[in-house]
Symmetry: D2
Subunit: 299 residues, 4 copies
């Protein structure tokens, strides 16, 4: 029997993901405040809902992909929101990257109503979502995971279970803290190396052959800023938001993050520059500007 | 015709490297202040020299591997040192990790005497040196590189040319700055993640599948601290020395390194703890101690 | 004619301040969830209110002094809160230290109802409040300032006008950012100086005679931690909250604060230690512990 | 009997100081590589020496004021330097700001030759030196202090004894670490406050009335950058040198300085800007540039 999915939020991630679900045989009902986006998925056979409420009723699973904590809380917990309309025995899966405490509040509200809840924030970028190659960090009870697994497999290739509800959000915070902070380390290293006269290809190859190797230099930057491309991707503004989630989690848990704090300050300062809405790999441009050297490029 | 090599400095790197050269058919003359170490290479057929001077005379190549800038300057530039004794037309290759300005001074002194100079600092650890699997970052003129290449191939598997003399030293500084700073990012990430309740294997696997992947977590720590092993390897004290080289290079070149500075401060503080002479992957223990969580381990 | 004041929140600041108002001839009606505290002011002649609503009705001025943004918003904007009960033509003065955005929301809600609003966060400590020697940073329109000035003069000695409503909150954030970050600079300086063998009295006297002179060393620490007293005062936990207000303001305004971030990380880490609920001058103990020296004391 | 003083180094400090000594009745013999500077003091009656050696012989006290560690070591310890020429029973007093380890080496060399040594680095600026209002941080044995006290009183008004030889240097490092790091805290605070719309005079007055008060804002910046004057004074480049002395001292003593490191990075970055050779109060311009606000001025 065809699984029915209500899908709320058709942004850079939600649009390709809901499309893939529809293409792969799920019965998808979409909702977004932008009707043009709904029409794109409708062309593939999906139904359009007129409201969050309509998208939430009569579904096996309701999926949300929204920008930030306050949007998820408004859509799920708000008057005439998902929780007010989802069927008894229903399941809500939130793919948004939000504050873990926000995830906990949503999970608690679901539990109080007897609704199953899964958090499954997305790793990787929009281009991977389009190819159905997303990575998901899943917080779910066993039985609930079994229910969402087919949908996750339709949208992605790498499904990681991270523990009970809420742990997907936490894993996402840690993952992005690690990669974003590393990006700035790479930016500083390359700015200094360039000022010392080292060739970018040499730096790329040597560090690629030692334990200095990392995905920010050898995957991300090699394909973006080092090719002269700083169109997002993932903006410095959004990256700053993600780093802020880590700083908040650290504050709540009484952990000091000396390098995280330095990274947060650098991203914060970069937001006052022309790179604020560029790909965060433009941290390299920012570091090279500050160092007074030209940003290196690789052929 | 057998190539004659004078080899000065039989520490953790010099001992296995000189041994490999002797085994692979070079005529090696060793010198070290520790006679027992010389004897180990002599058992393989090498000659023992009684002094730096004796090890420097009559060689095709003189190789130095010494702890720090002042040792290299003393051994090479000092009275009755390498430069005072090396044959006309000789070549000095320094494998030490030292200040780039120190390398420049040695290179300039060689040039003034018509002696060829190559700097080729070592990537990787003593265990790789023993297996002849070292990585070298080579600063050399073309003709000089041709002369040292056979010896480098006898000691290592990855030989990277980085430019003219002095650029090997600079590449080493950048490489270690990048990896050591990244190590602390990983330490902070895992300390926070652990405090948030995430399983170490989950963090390992998820970050390994995104651009958060890096050699410090997925190669170094996975094989050291996360297995409960913090015996060096490479100590926090030595790592601090390497970070200091980067900070000095940044100072000389008018570059600010906000995260490098934070890393330098953390390593500096870790040197006041019981981890000072432990493997630098023990940054994780230090971060977890500070955060009040137990250091995670992977099976 | 006696001015009538509703006073909500009888914490470390509110209790002595409302007492001073009552002593100095204002007709005070107090409200707090802790009846014992209300009784203390009632002994001086103040009236007790049974609710926020009761304390808000029939007053010339309603004053709030509450711990954090969410408390102010709940008490002022909540159902049956101050705004729902305050008389037409009334004036609300908030003395709390809260997020400037929170102040702006309260100010906007007041404006929408035609209620005058003044923000006047408190400088200095509880002991000054008891002596009627508080400092106030006042955001107010001219006419409103004239209305609150007698009350402010009854509670404090230094009344600074900082601009329109909201600017008092902003001034408080900057003031505490500057002093708290400076405290950690002093802690680092004294920890290093002590490790170098310098006498604390010498450091005190010399820096007191140069532009190194600052209130954190020469007023705060000289009277607290350097006398061996780390009972709050103002705790590291509260100080961290205030630093967080600055970091949030910086984030909202696209400003990077490299040293502020480092301070925030240090305070954040100190919160995982036994000093979390001690006076923030205990940053010196924390720095000395980390440096492996005994905390210095002055006689 | 007139005290004879050999005075070596007639820079921004040495010139006015030697002039004051000559004016106040000491028999001064000066040496500097710049003859024009010697002539200025000679016009007051001082003798010119043709060399360090000549300035060192036949004096009661030899005073050195030189830019950095290497200059002091060269002039004092070098061939035909002070130590090779100073009379038996002589006394050397170094007023330079140098690395404490350098001071220790000079002190040890003096001790080995039976020469008394005093280190007395200078607090305050050239304009104070001209008025004979310098501050000295003195490391000296009691008997030696008695010998130099009249000369110190001729040059300055505030003479602080800091302990045995070497402790003057250490006190200077701590003093300047504290004030330079505080300067950047002030710069960040004012940049953020300005972006929040606060008036500079308000920030000045309010923080001046709380424990936020500090010499960097209320003395230094109030008289320099906030008046639109960033001519040195004391350049960012020199300030960076002094901060580096603190970072080196911390490294040698296994102390981590999280905020010191952040300050060092900021000063390091500022050296790549147009402010490198401006007064270090121009940190405020740098912070405001980064924050995208105009640098505030006070009338």
């Amino acid at each position: 029997m065809t699984m029915k999915i209500g899908f709320i939020g058709l942004g850079a991630m939600g649009l390709p993901m809901s499309s893939n679900l529809q293409r792969k045989g799920f019965a998808v009902t979409v909702f977004d405040i932008d009707d043009a986006k709904m029409s794109k998925v409708a062309e593939l056979g999906a139904a359009k809902a007129a409201s969050v409420a309509e998208a939430s009723r009569g579904q096996d699973i309701v999926i949300t992909v929204l920008p930030a904590t306050q949007h998820v809380e408004a859509v799920v917990l708000g008057e005439d929101g998902v929780l007010a309309n989802i069927d008894a025995g229903g399941l809500l899966m939130d793919l948004s990257t939000i504050d873990a405490k926000g995830t906990d509040r949503v999970a608690a509200a679901c539990a109080a109503k007897g609704i199953s809840f899964v958090d499954a924030p997305i790793g990787r970028l929009a281009m991977h979502a389009e190819r159905g190659e997303s990575l998901f960090m899943v917080g779910a009870e066993d039985a609930d995971f079994a229910r969402v697994e087919p949908a996750l497999n339709a949208m992605g290739t790498d499904i990681f279970r991270c523990g009970h509800p809420g742990m997907g959000s936490r894993m996402k915070v840690i993952n992005n803290f690690m990669l974003l902070s590393t990006a700035q380390i790479v930016a500083e290293s390359l700015a200094l190396g360039t000022k010392l006269g080292l060739d970018i290809q040499t730096m790329h190859d040597v560090t690629g052959a030692t334990t200095a190797r990392n995905g920010q230099f050898h995957v991300l930057m090699a394909n973006k800023v080092l090719k002269g491309d700083i169109e997002p991707g993932f903006t410095i503004d959004l990256a700053f938001k993600d780093l802020s989630l880590a700083m908040n989690a650290a504050a709540e848990n009484r952990v000091g993050l000396p390098m995280g704090a330095a990274a947060h300050a650098v991203f914060g300062g970069a937001r006052a520059t022309k790179y604020a809405s560029k790909d965060y790999s433009a941290l390299l441009n920012h570091a090279c500007d500050n160092a007074g050297v030209e940003t290196p490029k690789m052929e």
